[in-house]
């Protein structure tokens, strides 16, 4: 069974059509990158997965059940969510931020503490007293690492990333992209990753889903994307070739 399925999903706000009949499946363990311009509907598609919004028509199935059928609190506890600005609670220490969902799930305290320590190591924030720091005492890159650790904490089956490295400097971004690949090898989660950065998409995706004005323009492996004839794919590939030429 697929981890996530979109069945002819439409999403409208008033007269504006954001998603125009999106149908796709996301397989367990894959990293599906939702690529597209601003306003192409990629963040909307992401937020339909964890029920932050509901479709105007069509259905999204997670683990077989539609998002409308799911108890949304339980759905979200099983899905990790990393956003661009981090969304860490400013009044919680790093430890409390990461341990949030485990504690909501009533894990024994010892297990939570151990989990936080493990995750801090996994995101290369071991040593020092990171656990006791507040988000405002961290750099942007460190905050994003904590955000990823928080998303992984309760061992969810699915991870959602909404342009998580967009606000970071290029060096830190590269660092975190590498971290993402390492974590994927270590934890093997199903990931849905939104970005408008075609290089990032090529680097991280097992499959790329290109969204254009609410429609699916392309879906397939990066190698297939590189030879896609679709105009929108060509537009992004132009960007990629420019960047490579500049190197």
């Amino acid at each position: 069974m697929s981890a996530v399925e979109f069945h002819d999903v439409h999403f409208r706000i008033g007269d504006r059509i954001i998603l125009n009949g999106l149908t796709l499946s996301i397989e367990p363990g894959e990293t599906l990158v939702l690529l597209g311009r601003s306003g192409s509907g990629k963040t909307t598609a992401l937020r339909l997965i964890n029920g932050m919004i509901l479709p105007s028509s069509g259905e999204i199935r997670v683990d077989g059940k539609t998002t409308v059928e799911w108890d949304r609190v339980r759905l979200r506890r099983g899905i990790g969510y990393v956003i661009q600005e981090g969304g860490l609670f400013p009044h919680f220490t790093v430890e409390r931020n990461i341990g949030l969902v485990p504690r909501l799930e009533n894990w024994p305290e010892g297990k939570v503490v151990a989990r936080v320590t493990t995750l801090l190591n996994s995101v290369s924030l071991s040593g020092g007293d990171f656990a006791r720091r507040l988000p405002r005492e961290l750099s942007g890159g460190q905050r994003q690492r904590v955000g990823v650790a928080r998303a992984l904490a309760a061992d969810p089956k699915i991870l959602l990333f909404d342009e998580p490295f967009g606000a970071l400097d290029p060096v830190t971004r590269l660092d975190l992209q590498r971290e993402f690949l390492r974590l994927r090898a270590e934890f093997g989660k199903t990931s849905v990753f939104v970005t408008h950065d075609v290089q990032e998409a090529m680097k991280l995706a097992t499959r790329i889903a290109l969204l254009h004005e609410g429609n699916l323009a392309f879906i397939g492996a990066p190698a297939a994307f590189e030879v896609s004839p679709h105009p929108e794919a060509r537009a992004f590939l132009d960007v990629l070739h420019e960047a490579r030429r500049a190197q």
Partner: protein
């Protein structure tokens, strides 16, 4: 001999003022604390509820604002003839003081909750927190400094307004002030005004400290 007699007389006056002052201070504290506790019990939950309803918010804040515009002595006067809650005495005064204390507490509670970063709130929802958990663990702690600031303003102004309660027989430090005005006795006036001012400063300081502690 006459100097000694005069000194003794002065001592007696000061002693009487002190004894009565302590009693009036106690009455004043009862008026203020009752009013603040009741106003908080109404305004804080109301504020939490109103934060999610812009239309109800306008009505409630409008009502509380109108309450502010009524001159205090007039409000005390209006309430006297009302059955049950009216009449001469502390409970009428407390009712009026509650009405005055509502606006700052209500408005600050609403502002505090609305001031929580929407990204943080969105994040909390996405983590799978229930509405109650979000309120308890995220919104209230982050809104606390603003809510306490509202309590601080309400408390300080209530300490001042409570001096007028003496005019309707509710006791408090205002008794000294009104008596001093009536008998043109500066010492009496000060005996009421200075403790009230000190009390206001102390409340302002204590709640200000609390506000800062929550702002960490």
């Amino acid at each position: 001999m006459r100097r000694v007699v005069l000194n003794n007389a002065l001592n007696d006056v000061l002693q009487d003022l002190l004894e009565e002052g302590v009693q009036l201070l106690g009455e004043h504290l009862v008026l203020v604390l009752s009013a603040i506790l009741i106003a908080s019990a109404i305004a804080i939950p109301a504020g939490l509820f109103l934060a999610s309803s812009p239309r109800a918010r306008r009505w409630a804040l409008g009502f509380a604002s109108v309450g502010q515009t009524i001159p205090s002595l007039a409000l005390f006067g209006f309430l006297i003839p009302i059955p049950f809650v009216g009449g001469i005495g502390p409970h009428t005064a407390i009712l009026a003081l509650v009405i005055y204390a509502l606006l700052p507490i209500l408005r600050n509670t609403v502002t505090g909750i609305l001031g929580v970063d929407p990204v943080v709130r969105d994040s909390a929802v996405a983590m799978g927190m229930t509405r109650a958990q979000i309120l308890r663990m995220v919104e209230l702690p982050l809104a606390a400094p603003t809510i306490i600031a509202g309590l601080r303003i309400a408390t300080v102004t209530t300490i001042g307004t409570a001096t007028i309660a003496a005019a309707i027989g509710a006791g408090g430090l205002g008794v000294f002030i009104f008596r001093g005005i009536a008998s043109v006795d500066k010492l009496q006036i000060l005996a009421g005004a200075i403790p009230a001012a000190l009390l206001a400063l102390a409340a302002d300081g204590a709640l200000g400290w609390l506000e800062k502690r929550f702002s960490r």
